[in-house]
Symmetry: D3
Subunit: 131 residues, 6 copies
């Protein structure tokens, strides 16, 4: 009653199964995460989100590891427990070591601190950084 329930592969429509299959194939996993099972309630959202994630997170000028690190930085800044848990795991799978994790946390913490110092001191943008 309080919201859509997750949709498992067994109970999924062919349209949803096609996305699940592509996720499983692309990521070489047995089953998709809870995130996708919930989005499956809206097949158009599921398709669009997966298509974007697949395109955006693929190796490019930035490596998949750096992209997962960025994902963690955003998720920690927003305080999203699900996203922190799933993307920290994805970052480790992509090669993040304990030492990298520690440095990532330190930079995220520092940036969140200095963002507020810049706000609070009402620091004007340096001419060199102006458009």
């Amino acid at each position: 009653m309080a919201g859509p329930h997750p949709i498992d592969y067994a109970g999924a429509s062919p349209r949803v199964r096609a996305v699940f299959d592509d996720i499983r194939h692309t990521r070489a996993v047995q089953d998709v995460n809870n995130f996708w099972k919930h989005l499956a309630n809206d097949p158009a959202l599921l398709e669009r989100t997966w298509a974007s994630v697949k395109q955006v997170m693929a190796a490019g000028a930035l490596s998949p590891l750096v992209k997962e690190i960025i994902y963690v930085a955003v998720s920690v800044t927003n305080g999203c427990p699900y996203c922190i848990a799933s993307h920290s795991a994805a970052a480790r799978k992509a090669g993040m070591t304990d030492e990298m994790f520690g440095e990532l946390m330190a930079v995220i913490g520092m940036a969140n601190e200095t963002n507020r110092l810049a706000y609070g001191y009402r620091v004007p943008i340096d001419a060199a950084f102006e458009r």
Copy 2:
């Protein structure tokens, strides 16, 4: 009246000048940014913040470029104009290309979107990601 004014090198105390000198030397720049000139109103804060930034942003398991990219990801998520301007410039100085910038923005945007989908669908953390 509305807040502390920036303190230039010429008007700075020896304690503040020592920090300014270290920033200029470490970064090989002529002058420090407005951020430091404002923090100079509180010498203890200036010293502590610079000491932390110097330690945290140095090359380690993550490169200075990746660290600046993380800083941009946090600043864009928070919507801090000063921090976006200064750390985008720092990231470019550390080697960020136009292509990397584009991918960085795409991942930040995507992560901010899926963070909200995870919240809104109230997705429970997968057993595999539990502590």
Copy 3:
């Protein structure tokens, strides 16, 4: 010890009971939600918050359904689990269908994404939108 405990109707003062009674009557419910039972620790806050909610959420130029949808949009953007749960339920009670819920989530996600693209690309406000 870690914070105020909820106050049930049975243990409430006449001043608190008067608010609880008005909530029950206005919403045609048997009991008030945990939110109100916690606010009851501060009768002035309880009275002021309920008076505002009652006035703000009543039908006006916007319908109660649209108002609950706005509430969900804010709560999901902030990532407030209690508020997402309670206002998603309230929105459904006011007529939100599964299809509407899906579209609501899609717009919230998209807006959170493009907000960050606007920040990150430092897009200046178009003259047409200036004050």
Copy 4:
């Protein structure tokens, strides 16, 4: 130097022009907003974002007016000046009256307030709202 510059129609590649043309046609406007001119620096991002916006913001179970109202609610909660300006204008174009705007602001403000009361009082989710 501080970031990508906007790309006007005259200086755009055929790939970018195709998106600009579709925006102009779909929205029946002479020129695209600054937002799109900045995203044009990354044609893949431009295409993907426009395709999503076009699909997500189209009339469905929720009207275009309600969708723009949701967009404003997110943008105001995040404090994104560009997004507030552009989507307030879009909402007005879609039929938002002054009275609706006033009620929208009131609900956004109230929701941001009660979100924090729910956090601060650490209100547990009612059994009725649990999954």
Copy 5:
């Protein structure tokens, strides 16, 4: 065209003037701030917001200075330029010294940093702090 314009005393309705008069009297100022002139577009919102601000910000168990300090802490965390400017000024008027301002900024920065460390390390709440 992009939003409601401020309403000055001269052009205000009797209902709005009554609120403006009470603000001027309570705060012993010649004119009200831009904030109130904008809210005047929605007299009900103006009345409700002023009544709440007057009640909430009055001396109580916490002094007006501490209350303004809290207001600044929230506004800096959210990054609201208008609110930072106006409430920093109000805090100074209520007695905030330069030294207090410096310490306030330091605590705000530190709290925003450690909030993210608690998120990122997924620190479970100590039994002693549980409800």
Copy 6:
């Protein structure tokens, strides 16, 4: 697998124990909180964070009570459950009464509301508050 585990005193290195001992001594507690046990995975972060917290939270122009109140204001605005729980407890230990807690929550809620009204009405900063 999903993240670093807490490090107890018994299993800690001499470097980590030194920090734990200083926390226990400074705060006159038997054991350190979970927060420190998790940060102990990165001794440099642990040392730096504790040194900063010790310096920033000490009595100065603002009392320890006011500093804990500011910490709660930031944590509630960000919606950080761990930080709200631990710093509400710390504030109570420093002297926060039930009445102060109620007023703190009321100001936090109000500030989060009016921050959004200032954003949404796009209120320009008064000349008196300009730099």
